[in-house]
């Protein structure tokens, strides 16, 4: 990729390393354990099972610059574009990107932890494994 310096061959290599890691039987077993945990405890369980130390203890070869974290995708706002198909439903939340210099108080008011937790639980979150910085190749799984 011109801007980020990622070529097709590099993307292939990164995705291959990541797939070997995330589709290894040991990793899948850990993921299955997280998925079987009650929803409200899944993040904590994932935090334990997917720490880099826990992965190393399993003897899994961890690709360079791997990050494993929770993630949500914009599945419902209508801003998600399905290429080759019509746009989704009308925006549920039409929050314009604010101009630079926005008052941090406004941002803080948007970051309400209870709302975030409630929304994440309602909509589900994913386990995401990324390899690399800038352009990240990841895999997501449902935790809802």
């Amino acid at each position: 990729m011109a801007q980020s310096g990622f070529s097709r061959s590099e993307l292939k290599a990164r995705t291959e390393a990541m797939l070997k890691f995330t589709t290894s039987q040991k990793f899948l077993d850990e993921l299955e354990s997280v998925l079987k945990t009650p929803a409200r405890r899944q993040l904590a369980e994932a935090s334990k099972r997917f720490s880099l130390e826990a992965m190393e203890a399993l003897g899994l070869p961890i690709p360079d610059k791997t990050r494993i974290s929770s993630r949500i995708f914009d599945e419902a706002s209508g801003r998600a574009t399905v290429l080759g198909a019509k746009l989704g439903d009308t925006l549920l939340i039409n929050t314009a990107v604010p101009a630079k210099g926005v008052d941090p108080k406004i941002l803080r008011s948007m970051v309400d932890q209870e709302t975030i937790v409630a929304r994440a639980i309602r909509n589900g979150w994913s386990v995401c494994v990324c390899v690399g910085v800038g352009v990240c190749v990841g895999v997501g799984g449902g935790l809802d």
């Binding site: 990729m1 011109a2 801007q3 070529s7 097709r8 993307l11 995705t15 797939l19 995330t22 589709t23 290894s24 899948l28 993921l31 299955e32 993040l43 904590a44 994932a46 935090s47 880099l52 610059k65 990050r67 494993i68 974290s69 929770s70 993630r71 949500i72 995708f73 914009d74 706002s77 801003r79 998600a80 574009t81 399905v82 290429l83 080759g84 939340i93 929050t95 314009a96 990107v97 604010p98 101009a99 630079k100 210099g101 926005v102 941090p104 941002l107 803080r108 948007m110 970051v111 979150w125 995401c128 990324c130 800038g134 352009v135 990240c136 190749v137 990841g138 895999v139 997501g140 449902g142």
Partner: protein, 163 residues
């Protein structure tokens, strides 16, 4: 594994095929051009470009982007609060979604590796993507759970001992 006949090798093959389709798409000249257009902008202007152009089918067509079926362009947000911009995603076949659901290639603003945690803080509930975008546009610290009125984050001051 919930599907007894689905093996790790089956999952690997489905994910590999989906990734190959994503790579074919993101390495087209037209898509590379739009990525270049995005990254030519100041980092704080990129979320608006994502909304106005990358998530806008008309603007995509103007740039000659051919839409492969089943590929999604979306916003997303991570628990580790990295300054992410957008993601190109494809679901693997439902039959093989016993563990993983999708593969994706994600485009972020550059960030300092030390500023994005890998510990249990990576497992916080992700911010709503609208808030994530707002923070990137404001040039605010990615760890927004503790933005002070001065615009500095508690995480910044704790980082020395936390990482």
């Amino acid at each position: 594994m919930s599907g007894p006949d689905i093996t790790a090798a089956d999952i690997y093959r489905s994910m590999r095929q989906a990734y190959d389709e994503l790579i074919d798409f993101v390495t087209t000249k037209e898509f590379e051009n739009i990525v270049d257009e995005l990254y030519a902008l100041p980092p704080t202007n990129r979320p608006q470009f994502v909304n106005d152009v990358i998530l806008n089918e008309t603007e995509l067509k103007k740039r000659g982007i051919v839409p492969p079926a089943g590929i999604l362009l979306q916003r997303s947000s991570f628990g580790d609060r990295r300054p992410t911009l957008f993601v190109v995603k494809k679901y693997i076949p439902e039959l093989h979604q016993t563990h993983w659901q999708n593969v994706n290639i994600t485009f972020d603003n550059p960030f300092d590796e030390a500023d994005v945690p890998r510990d249990e803080r990576a497992w916080r509930p992700p911010l709503p993507f609208e808030v994530q975008q707002a923070l990137v546009a404001a040039g605010a610290d990615a760890d927004t759970s503790s933005i002070s009125e001065e615009g500095h984050s508690r995480y910044s001051s704790e980082r020395g001992s936390a990482d």
